[in-house]
């Protein structure tokens, strides 16, 4: 079995959950190695975590370039490591940046690329990826037919499972190529204290039906009672009621939680594109004709301002 490189996404010195999912999936198609870039002094801890989840080797590269330039330094590093290792596949998290990095790596390796896969399995002639397309109305199985399989996978494609391996660190000196945009300033996003939207097991979203920024209070209270992340439709974001970083949909985040609760959201195709692969879907909407009800496992036709607080109280009571 070939070596499978996993680009480990990390923030604030901590491995992000999707990276552990990738390591778990990588074990299905070969022998996982982790690639940790620009982590500074946190590299050792990140490498240890990657080892816990199955990485036999962990390639570590550092340098100011990773923070000071957009995308290209990661492309330089990942391409160099993939070539030296003779990797059979490269797996990257499907984020805006992850996809850009993966695409350029694929081109440099002379390989095809598949983005936004939701599942991965071994096939007769290399890894087979499942994509959920056209707002999740079709499932497509595809593979890279030329070169190294470069595949990006959405968060929540599987649940991370530990499988301790050596996690042997190999330090890499990268030849940087330049020709990148400069990052002249960076402002980390302030954490809401709630789970990361794309990684959360439960997401509670509010739409235009929430009526005002203050209306999101009932959405947040329900989310907190469930330990969930908060999402919003574009209508709610455009109205200025909730930050764009929380938008769910085609031009926002694509989420695939165990449970998605939509309150005051009609269910437009562009919203569905971001949530339709959720395992269980619940909607609260006062219009029984709202298209969101076509998707739901459970729906309540009613006013979200009475249904959500009652549900929150009940959840709290049951959790004790």
């Amino acid at each position: 079995m070939g070596e499978i490189l996993v680009l480990v996404d990390h923030a604030d010195g901590v491995v992000r959950k999707p990276a552990l999912e990738l390591l778990t999936l990588a074990r299905r198609i070969g022998e996982p190695s982790a690639v940790v870039l620009g982590a500074g002094s946190a590299a050792a801890d990140i490498a240890a975590k990657a080892g816990e989840f199955g990485a036999a080797k962990v390639y570590v590269a550092d340098g100011a370039e990773f923070a000071d330039q957009l995308v290209v330094p990661k492309v330089d590093a990942l391409t160099q490591i993939a070539k030296t290792a003779g990797a059979a596949a490269v797996l990257v998290t499907s984020s805006g940046e992850g996809k850009e990095v993966a695409a350029r790596v694929a081109l440099r390796l002379g390989s095809g690329i598949i983005t936004d896969a939701v599942d991965l399995e071994a096939g007769d002639s290399g890894p087979v990826a499942t994509q959920s397309v056209f707002a999740a109305s079709f499932q497509v199985k595809s593979k890279v037919s030329h070169g190294t399989s470069v595949i990006t996978l959405k968060p929540n494609s599987t649940s991370p499972e530990a499988a301790p391996a050596a996690g042997a660190v190999e330090n890499v000196t990268v030849e940087f190529t330049g020709k990148a945009a400069k990052v002249v300033a960076r402002t980390p996003r302030v954490s809401s204290g709630r789970p990361e939207l794309t990684e959360a097991a439960i997401v509670v979203s509010g739409g235009r039906g929430v009526g005002a920024a203050e209306g999101f209070g009932v959405v947040e209270e329900l989310a907190d009672s469930l330990g969930a992340a908060v999402g919003a439709s574009r209508a709610a974001v455009d109205a200025g009621w909730y930050p764009h970083s929380n938008q769910v949909g085609q031009t926002g985040k694509q989420v695939s939680p165990q449970l998605y609760i939509a309150a005051g959201i009609s269910g437009a195709i562009q919203h569905r594109a971001g949530m339709q692969t959720s395992k269980t879907i619940i909607a609260i909407n006062k219009d029984e004709e709202a298209p969101i009800f076509e998707l739901v496992d459970y729906g309540v036709v009613g006013d979200l301002f009475t249904v959500l607080p009652q549900l929150t109280a009940e959840v709290k009571a049951r959790k004790g």
Partner: protein, 261 residues
């Protein structure tokens, strides 16, 4: 010399209509209604704003697509772009993103440019990687996924709202940028704009004109292959209750039954 801006726009099936695959596993672009990808309207808009602010600029819109893709070009021209390039060749049908980026890169070189503007993603393939691939092929800086952009002298400046942080980016021209739907509302074509668009020049290129061999592109030249396509099984009809005072409690009971609480 005036500033040459080229906006890449895609002709896509209407997302609110019936989108499907043709028998050869490619997207059905003929049997369904198509239009200019809504997310590329933001690219056209930002290109026009940059051109207006600059004063001496020319905006060209470029598409790779079938005959009907002309509709997308006309729409962009009616918004105010000056001229268009249409790359159209039977052999392009079924090309993957790596191949598409090769075609667009060649077409850009032939057209000539100082700034390439793209949308954040198409509304059909939704990969969001073509701008990065163009930058790679052309050996230029990528300044992508911008929710705010400006050109100051020969420096492109922009704000990128990433997953974990907001970044301020800068690069010198020539460069490739992409803009998000947060970058500013796209204008509607005026009646005058629509009339003027009919007279604007559309250059047509085929693969020969770009020096690309047919076997480098198309379904056969693709480096990815679709093995199977299945319509997602319709979700089994869910339970829908009307709130008569107990809606929240009923929902809680369902969540408990499903072990969420």
């Amino acid at each position: 010399m005036s500033l040459r801006i080229v906006v890449c726009v895609k002709y896509v099936p209407d997302a609110t209509g019936d989108r499907r695959f043709a028998d050869d596993t490619t997207t059905d672009r003929e049997g369904v209604d198509g239009l200019l990808s809504e997310l590329d309207e933001y690219g056209v808009e930002q290109a026009l704003r940059i051109a207006e602010a600059h004063g001496d600029a020319e905006v060209t819109v470029l598409t790779v697509g079938p005959d009907d893709a002309k509709d997308a070009l006309r729409k962009a021209l009616s918004m105010g772009a000056d001229k268009a390039v249409h790359v159209n060749d039977e052999d392009i049908h079924g090309t993957d993103v790596i191949g598409t980026s090769a075609i667009i890169a060649k077409a850009l070189e032939k057209t000539g440019f100082d700034l390439v503007v793209c949308g954040m993603a198409s509304t059909d393939g939704t990969m969001g990687v073509l701008p990065a691939l163009l930058a790679e092929r052309l050996g230029l800086p990528q300044v992508t996924l911008l929710s705010e952009v400006s050109l100051e002298g020969t420096t492109v400046k922009g704000r990128r709202d990433g997953d974990a942080a907001t970044e301020q980016l800068e690069a010198e021209l020539p460069a490739v940028i992409s803009v998000t739907d947060q970058s500013g509302e796209a204008r509607y074509p005026s009646f005058k704009g629509i009339m003027a668009a009919k007279k604007k020049k559309v250059d047509e290129y085929d693969l020969d004109d770009l020096g690309i061999e047919a076997d480098e592109v198309g379904l056969g030249g693709s480096w990815t292959a679709v093995e199977a396509i299945a319509a997602r099984p319709a979700r089994t009809a869910g339970t829908i209750v009307k709130d008569e005072g107990e809606g929240g409690k009923q929902l809680a009971a369902y969540l408990a039954e499903q072990k969420f609480i």
